[in-house]
């Protein structure tokens, strides 16, 4: 173990790494609508108070595309998809599987996993997330 402290930063603030990685949404206390970014007022009911809620880490793939052509610097191909985790839809890459339509299937079960995006000069590791097929 190194003497220096290694801290971690999630790729986005709605990814929580403790106690185990999961997504957190801002839920409208009036109507239950969930948002991953901060909202000034609820888009559904205009109320202004929110509470954090943990999102299930397993879900079902309800849509996907296999991106073969992207902006410069983005590795292709990759699978982008929509995962329904309980009652909440999540946008993510589908990882740890071959990016082809024979292996990626609509309706398949997937679970949240994290991976390292690298460490900066201060020793801070950024952590990304995706969903992988549940074997």
């Amino acid at each position: 173990m190194s003497a220096s402290t290694t801290s971690q930063l999630p790729i986005v603030s709605y990814l929580s790494l403790e106690p185990s990685p999961h997504l957190v949404a801002n839920e409208c206390t009036a109507c239950g609508a969930r948002f991953f970014d901060r909202r000034n007022a609820c888009a559904a009911c205009f109320a202004t108070t929110f509470r954090p809620v943990d999102i299930e880490t397993e879900g079902v793939l309800t849509s996907f595309t296999i991106v073969a052509f992207a902006a410069p610097g983005i590795p292709v191909p990759f699978v982008a998809g929509i995962v329904k985790c309980g009652s909440t839809s999540v946008r993510a890459n589908i990882i740890n599987c071959e990016p082809n339509p024979d292996t990626v299937k609509l309706g398949m079960k997937v679970r949240l996993v994290t991976y390292s995006l690298g460490t900066d000069d201060d020793g801070v590791e950024a952590v990304g997330f995706g969903f992988e097929p549940v074997a």
Binding site: L9, S13, S63, F69, A70, F78, I82, V124
Partner: protein, 402 residues
């Protein structure tokens, strides 16, 4: 004609394609002057100008255009509303005329997009120095495009089509490709289309994959172009010549909507609900049902998008888009011809021009002036556009009957 009816008196579009010798203002001027000529009026008759351009929004396109076609001091509304910019410009002119503030309005949409490449995607610029720092509303420490899904248009609309498949039964790659085959086949009859080349299904499926299931020919063609329309009221039209009255096209419905809140709309833009809402309002306002439509120009920015809009525009029962397509209905000899212009995939998609050009296409048929691609005896048509964010324009048009 009722005095408060809205009419398109003149309408025109430029050829879509690569116009290296013309800038946005040249293209806009060409379309605007052609629309004025088509209407039999001049800039001196126009009380309001609604000017649409997206990629240079903020440059005062409308005022630039006035310098080239006539500076009469009338109000200009510069509008930008994603891919619905053209329809928004038209709707702005229509609202001004309908309010009674002006007798005639001119709507113009122009865009230079040839060679623009991939739209959407790329996200935030790279961080300064080697330090992770949370930025923006999501506190992102790195660009999220490509790491948390895709921001690209082909990928976004691919997911729109795939989501339809998850909801109503899987749609094959080939079905999506066959929609593109139809539109490219239709384009061979349209001399103003950017591309007029028919592709085989093998060529479409075997072309470069952009975002599964959309290959390159299944994506809208970035190109240059402009379109413009002159609108007026029934009260004014009554005072004009019989020929102007005969060629005028009635705007039976003009509707613009945005996306109402839906559970998943923060994840994937919901292009369905706002289209369905706009269509419902338009059919009701026009007193027309989907089965009355002789032709439809809908926003086929990608082959995957055309499929879902058959359903959203209620051209088929809910969930029945694949069956509708496979019945041959949207081919030009089918029961509801869709995108006989070639659509965005082959006619092209110069963003701000699109929402007026699709209305030009419908008007062209309703006037019986579409030549070899004329849909025989067309009386009623619908034009639809959608811009991500989102905005949806639906117009229902009817021939004058004079």
């Amino acid at each position: 004609m009722a005095t408060d009816d809205i009419w398109i008196l003149g309408i025109a579009m430029t050829k879509f394609g690569k116009h290296t010798d013309k800038d946005i203002v040249d293209l806009g001027a060409e379309a605007a002057m052609a629309a004025l000529t088509d209407a039999g009026v001049s800039m001196g008759d126009i009380g309001v100008l609604a000017a649409g351009n997206l990629m240079a929004a903020g440059a005062g396109f409308g005022q630039q255009l006035q310098k080239q076609i006539g500076q009469t001091g009338i109000p200009v509304y510069n509008v930008a509303n994603a891919c619905a910019t053209g329809a928004t410009a038209l709707r702005t002119a229509i609202m001004a005329v309908k309010s009674g503030e002006v007798r005639m309005g001119l709507a113009v949409g122009a865009e230079k997009l040839a060679g623009a490449g991939l739209l959407g995607g790329g996200g935030q610029s790279k961080k300064d120095g080697n330090k992770w720092e949370p930025r923006g509303r999501y506190g992102a420490v790195a660009p999220t495009d490509g790491r948390i899904g895709t921001d690209t248009m082909p990928g976004t609309f691919a997911q729109v089509g795939m989501e339809y498949g998850h909801k109503y039964g899987e749609v094959s790659f080939e079905t999506f490709a066959r929609i593109s085959e139809k539109n490219h086949a239709h384009s061979t009859l349209n001399p103003l289309a950017a591309y007029q080349k028919r592709f085989t299904i093998e060529e479409i499926m075997g072309d470069m994959m952009i975002a599964y299931p959309n290959t390159r020919p299944m994506c809208s063609a970035n190109c240059d172009g402009a379109a413009a329309a002159v609108v007026t009221t029934g009260e004014v039209l009554r005072t004009l010549s019989k020929e102007q009255q005969r060629r005028a096209i009635k705007v039976s419905a003009s509707v613009l909507t945005t996306d109402p809140y839906q559970e998943a709309c923060q994840i994937l833009p919901d292009v369905n609900t706002l289209t369905r809402n706009a269509a419902r309002q338009a059919y009701e306002a026009a007193g027309v049902s989907p089965s009355d439509l002789d032709l439809v120009e809908l926003h086929d920015c990608f082959a995957t998008a055309e499929l879902v809009h058959y359903d959203n525009l209620m051209l088929c029962p809910e969930g029945g888009a694949v069956e509708f397509f496979e019945s041959g209905a949207p081919w030009r000899d089918g029961s509801t011809p869709v995108n006989v212009s070639g659509g965005l995939q082959s006619k092209g998609h110069p963003i701000a021009a699109t929402g007026i050009a699709n209305i030009w296409e419908v008007c062209h048929h309703l006037r019986g002036e579409a030549g070899p691609r004329q849909i025989a005896d067309a009386k009623v048509g619908l034009a639809h556009v959608i811009g991500l964010g989102s905005a949806c324009g639906v117009h229902i048009l009817e021939r004058s009957g004079l």
